[in-house]
Symmetry: D2
Subunit: 214 residues, 4 copies
């Protein structure tokens, strides 16, 4: 495992694997702690916000990836998601890694275009949020699930990566602040807000909702 990790974290120097980097594993674990710390604070703020009407039917999740993430187990999220309870919201559990697929996949894809964008949260689709984002000068993009190629549809878990890639390209290669899709047969339309870390995303969600409520 040590050798394997050292190779995985090797410095990229030209072709092949870089030289052995014994600090790689340490960096990753330190990253994981920092991500959990950011998530904890972000969730505490979220739970105090008045956002229950923006939680989708399929509930919401807030995720944040470690630097250099390349799999779902590198992305922290809320196991059981963030749920509406009467007029409030509550994180079902404390954040941990590997607890999200959809939103985590969206972030892993965004990171391929901009490795600094490591966090996202999904919200109920609401046209007023889209308009608010535009008024705020955000980069807004979308994808249309009906345009998903058949060969991708057949693969489990490939729709979101495909969609985010489409949305990024539509935005000229930049990762948008907000990506939406209008749903499909059996699929709820959805909004995703992207940011650098979970605190950044929560702050953006707050501004977005405030703008939409003006």
């Amino acid at each position: 495992r040590f050798v394997e990790d050292a190779i995985r974290y090797g410095f990229p120097v030209g072709g092949g694997h870089g030289p052995i980097n014994p600090v790689g594993r340490l960096i990753e674990e330190a990253e994981r702690f920092k991500v959990l710390e950011s998530m904890r604070r972000a969730v505490e703020i979220l739970e105090s916000m008045d956002i229950s009407k923006y939680i989708p039917e399929s509930q919401s999740n807030l995720v944040m990836a470690i630097d250099g993430a390349d799999s779902l187990s590198d992305v922290a999220a809320i196991p059981g998601r963030i749920v509406r309870i009467y007029d409030g919201v509550k994180a079902s559990e404390a954040p941990w890694f590997g607890a999200s697929r959809h939103v985590a996949n969206a972030v892993l894809t965004a990171m391929k275009f901009d490795p600094r964008v490591r966090s996202a949260m999904n919200l109920r689709y609401d046209e007023r949020l889209i308009e608010a984002a535009k008024r705020l000068g955000w980069v807004v993009s979308f994808y249309d699930r009906r345009e998903e190629p058949e060969e991708i549809k057949r693969l489990e878990g490939r729709t979101v990566p495909w969609g985010i890639e489409v949305a990024v390209k539509r935005a000229g290669g930049r990762v948008p602040d907000l990506v939406y899709h209008l749903g499909d047969w059996g699929k709820e339309p959805m909004i995703l807000v992207f940011g650098r870390d979970s605190m950044d995303v929560v702050e953006k969600v707050r501004r977005l909702i405030a703008e939409a409520s003006r």
Copy 2:
């Protein structure tokens, strides 16, 4: 309030309100306790079952109405729903009244056809569950959201009551053991299992999943 309740619970004797029934309010409150008690036991059993893969994207709820229920506040459910957490499920909160709309509305509609059917739970749509229900000899019915009349679609919260009514009529007026719909644009397909009380529903869900896994 006393007089109002007494009238509401008056015995139905011919036209107009029946004679004053001072026990009505007592009966209702006793009912509420019994419903909570049944829900608590049912949730405890559910949490020990291996059903996470049958929890829909929009999560699940288990609901049970008091005898004679006529509004959402007469139906107990899980605030925050029953959520998937890794490979298990967890009730977000203890059961209480007024915590569900969709599944609770389904039960309120079913009760108009058979007042003894006071509980239901929704599951992820899966053809194997439908087939299992048929093998078990259950009454299975469905509705198609595309057939919903325009004037009903425009009304908030009327789709589920309309759909359940269609499904009951399709089953010859009996409340089915299982009702499904195949979704719509933006709407997840869904299965509903009906029963007399929450313990009955949980037991039926257990048998259904066991049969589907054979």
Copy 3:
């Protein structure tokens, strides 16, 4: 069970059991619902109060008995108690019956002297709370565990009933608003606030702490 309950709830008319009372069981179940409802609201208020420094080492509980309670299963409490979490407090679970021994026994004893006093909460012993209670004009009493007779000490769960009885008698037969004891070897000193229902107790705790903080 019906006959048994009917006898248990029979009206007390002279010697022996009163006449059969078929409404008895209904009354009890209705009572249970009303107690849970009161507890839920009281807990919600408690969780918003700044009382973490008044939570004892052995944590706190808030309990409320049904009218006519005569056993621990007639007393609702917080399973897992009300715990300190950093600077706040949290009910471990939703209220249910049979979840407290010490505080519930205190209430069952108080009810023998005044059946209207059906709720209590325990707080960390703090002289300032005692003084505040006196300034508020409350009936304050106490017991000294060292004076507990040997034959009672040997019995499991008899200390609290003995102590409350001592405290009530010391107060001239009235159930005090506040009872304290100064502890014993291995036993944390404690304050108990009594009231008619859980909302009354929480309101009294709020006033007590406000007065102590002046």
Copy 4:
């Protein structure tokens, strides 16, 4: 902060601070993640164990310090403690740092004698557990709160460190597997089980209880 940390984590080379060590902060954060990971697994196992009757009145906590810990904020614990709920136990929250004083202080003191002993859990005092520990060949020691010097008693939070130091010295300088004290006026008697990490402690608790139940 960087310079400060680098100094704090400087390699110990003779007198004064060692050379600047830029990896120090990284090591600490990586440690924090590993501690949380160990705690999560340990708590999951604890919650499945039948230990409710060994949970003290003041509830239990399981703590684990990072390597080189020197303050309470370096020790992970369960905020709200591990509470008894009917016949089971439940962690009130997910583990995090700075959530324990008593048990965390015990570990910080033990680490001064043996830096490898970084975890502990407290249990209800029960003579059968002491005897079981002896049968298992454990190092068992104790302290007597009545022997605590007056000048230490006056200081907030110094009792546990004093007691653990006494117990370690009584055991000839080794950190015992189990330390107990018999309580004091107002203080519950208690057992502490020490181990290298939280999984080690939980495994020891399991063996101890199994031996005591034989």
